[in-house]
């Protein structure tokens, strides 16, 4: 035990709130700044990790009726993406996004050649959406096509 008589500093128990020293002031200042800073960082990072749900929902869109599909195809927009429904040689229906997989130009369906032609760099896709000429690296995004009776629906990407 420390004798208060020989050690006056120890007479009163050191209460940390009794005196605001420079060290304590700076400690609280920097500590608070650190906690606020890390907190401001934690919020967006938590939001990042939380799953994205709305992007997965595909709407069901009626595009045409069976009898109206000609060789020229049916041009439609699906969730703001320019798209095209065609009837293939085997009579199956197929629908593709018209955004070229090379640099994003809008390709055009050429009924007489039975292919999609890109005006920017002469890329070509066949009726299955596969690239057959020019720079496009991958097929056109394909939609899931559902035929119910006389109606043709598109339900998201296949």
């Amino acid at each position: 035990m420390i004798d208060p008589a020989t050690n006056p500093g120890a007479a009163e128990p050191q209460d940390s709130t009794a005196e605001v020293t420079r060290r304590r002031f700076l400690g609280v200042l920097f500590g608070t700044a650190t906690i606020v800073g890390l907190g401001a960082l934690a919020a967006p990072l938590t939001r990042f990790a939380y799953p994205v749900i709305q992007g997965q929902v595909f709407e069901r869109l009626k595009v045409a009726t069976v009898s109206t599909v000609t060789a020229e195809g049916i041009r439609f927009d699906y969730q703001d993406t320019p798209s095209m429904l065609i009837q293939k040689e085997d009579k199956d229906f197929a629908a593709y996004s018209l955004v070229c997989t090379h640099l994003g130009c809008i390709v055009k369906w050429e009924a007489k050649n039975k292919d999609f032609h890109c005006p920017c760099h002469a890329g070509k896709f066949d009726e299955n959406g596969d690239p057959i000429a020019g720079p496009p690296p991958s097929p056109l995004p394909k939609y899931k096509v559902v035929v119910e009776g006389a109606d043709i629906f598109v339900e998201g990407l296949a």
């Binding site: 709130t17 967006p44 990072l45 939001r47 990042f48 990790a49 939380y50 994205v52 992007g55």
Partner: protein, 218 residues
């Protein structure tokens, strides 16, 4: 503040951690130390940012040739703050390499590699190469044209090594050319092997500087 102090007291009574923390906070450094001595610490800060943002990116990134690029687009376009997290990771990667080089130059021109600190220079050089490898392996992961050709050049350079070249190249590629096997290899190197090995080496690097102290000026 009372409950905070109670929690602190609880752990201090068991682990004496206040003494250890105090030692860290009040550790003396030589008087000649100036801002040039910050580069190593900044590099470590970069590494911690990379670890944090990298773990977060791994939530969405898919290491297959089919999905890699589109998963990166998904992070950039759809994920909230995805642009921030990926840009932080990409920018900090560049800054980290610059900081490593500054740190290395500082140590070199101060002659701080002299005995008894040779081993710390050696681990530092190892850390430098690990950082470069981090950059090289991470560069392939977005799997765009830039990634593809950079990795092609890089792996072909390793293929030009005398004697072992073809084997090293095959090992890196996981086959004959860049593809799925390369991507998963680079991913494993980038997110598992390097973080573990670098953290271990970093610990040695820190322990040695702690034990030996900062070098005196020339």
């Amino acid at each position: 503040m009372r409950p905070l102090k109670a929690i602190g007291d609880f752990f201090d009574a068991r682990f004496e951690m206040r003494r250890v923390l105090r030692e860290f906070a009040e550790h003396n450094v030589p008087e000649h130390v100036n801002w040039l001595y910050c580069f190593g610490g900044v590099t470590f800060l970069c590494f911690m940012i990379q670890a944090l943002t990298g773990i977060l990116l791994a939530f969405y990134y898919q290491p297959t040739s089919e999905a890699a690029y589109s998963s990166v687009l998904h992070i950039m376009d759809d994920v909230p703050f995805g642009v921030v997290v990926r840009s932080l990771h990409s920018w900090t990667a560049n800054i980290m390499i610059i900081m490593v080089i500054f740190h290395m130059l500082r140590v070199f021109f101060h002659g701080a590699y002299r005995p008894p600190r040779e081993m710390n220079w050696l681990t530092g050089v190892m850390l430098f190469f690990m950082t470069i490898t981090f950059g090289f392996s991470g560069y392939l992961l977005p799997f765009n044209q830039l990634s593809y050709w950079a990795s092609k050049v890089g792996t072909e350079i390793s293929g030009a090594l005398p004697f072992v070249g073809p084997y090293v190249q095959a090992f890196l590629l996981g086959g004959e050319k860049i593809g799925d096997a390369t991507l998963t290899r680079f991913y494993a190197i980038h997110v598992i092997i390097l973080p573990v090995v670098l953290t271990g080496t970093l610990l040695l690097h820190f322990l040695m500087v702690r034990k030996q102290g900062i070098a005196d000026p020339l």
